[in-house]
């Protein structure tokens, strides 16, 4: 029997068979939600499957969008204590028109938690890029500041809610000019320490991973649970 593949793919919300070049790591939270649902689907409780209790939002599609931006190397670092600057860009084109965005969570993975190399304290500054980068500009011009947060050491994952920004981008893709992340080193800068900081910043450049986890609700696939069952 000729399997009508393209019809089935369309049903899955895909326009062609994906052929990923490399497999992305699946974050723990997506595996957990998947396994919870597999277990719930075989149990009798008819919960609302279009509600994601782990995040407290409604939705039936979760997408982990990898960052497609690059590190920036500008001769005149914005401040002496600057550790690194990175342009972050997330492609939202996979979100279909009828889908409503209900969550957009930026995740910055600074690196594995370890018991050694515990310094230095860092400050994370995240800016919205609101103007296209000019030709001779080494780095995009930082626009509105979205986040300014200290972290005790370059380890672990920090999350930021970017729902309003993502909704703007999703409503008008021209506005999606990305984000500018700057990581600064806090604390003293005497000579002896500087060398360690360069080492810490180089490690951070190696380990930093950024991703945007978006949740959308497809109204046609998530009719209100009031639908009467036989």
């Amino acid at each position: 029997v000729q399997f009508q593949e393209y019809v089935f793919l369309q049903f899955l919300g895909l326009d062609k068979v994906p052929s990923p070049q490399r497999f992305q790591p699946v974050p723990y939270i997506l595996k957990k939600i998947f396994q919870d649902r597999e277990a719930a689907a075989t149990s009798v409780d008819s919960r609302d499957f279009c509600y994601i209790k782990d995040f407290g939002v409604r939705g039936n599609v979760l997408r982990l969008l990898p960052d497609q931006g690059l590190f920036l190397y500008s001769r005149k670092l914005s401040q002496a204590s600057s550790c690194l600057q990175k342009f972050l860009y997330f492609n939202l084109s996979a979100i279909k028109e009828k889908e409503q965005l209900t969550m957009a969570q930026l995740g910055l993975d600074l690196g594995p938690n370890t018991y050694y190399k515990l310094g230095p304290e860092l400050e994370l500054a995240l800016f919205l890029v609101q103007e296209p980068q000019e030709g001779d500009q080494p780095i995009p011009k930082p626009g509105r500041m979205l986040v300014l947060q200290s972290v005790p050491r370059p380890q672990g994952v920090v999350h930021f809610n970017l729902l309003d920004v993502a909704k703007d981008w999703n409503n008008d893709s021209q506005k999606n000019l990305g984000l500018l992340l700057e990581i600064l080193v806090k604390g003293n800068r005497d000579i002896g320490v500087t060398f360690q900081l360069q080492d810490a910043c180089a490690r951070l450049r190696q380990s930093l991973r950024a991703s945007l986890l978006v949740v959308t609700l497809h109204p046609e696939q998530c009719h209100p649970s009031s639908r009467k069952r036989r």
Binding site: L30, F49, L62
Partner: protein
């Protein structure tokens, strides 16, 4: 592959037929991370008047079967899903996005005359 139905006392009567679609058979295991496939069960079989009261049927089916017995021109009640469950799929698309998508009412758990 079709999973052989248990020896149903009356094989022609309305009941759930189990069918498992293995994504590897479609070559989709390269981009679908989980599950390995899904149960594409379907409902099939007769809904005779004599059994509508026992085949997990709706009252409407009982009346339709009665009318079919009186006037064969009126179609019999049909074998339809009476209990469905959802599935979730974890897959990767062409933009390196990892997607977890949830589909309601995808798997037929029970059938009856409706």
């Amino acid at each position: 592959e079709a999973i052989p139905a248990p020896k149903a006392p009356c094989r022609n009567l309305c009941h759930r037929h189990q069918l498992f679609i293995n994504f590897r058979d479609l070559g989709w295991h390269k981009w679908i991370i989980a599950p390995k496939g899904f149960m594409a069960n379907y409902c099939h079989g007769d809904c005779p008047f004599s059994l509508t009261t026992s085949l997990n049927s709706s009252n409407y089916a009982f009346m339709q079967a009665l009318m079919h017995a009186v006037d064969p021109e009126i179609p019999q009640a049909v074998c339809v899903p009476t209990k469905l469950s959802p599935i979730s799929m974890l897959y990767q698309d062409n933009d390196d996005n990892v997607i977890l998508r949830h589909y309601e009412e995808m798997v037929v758990d029970e059938c009856g005359c409706g």
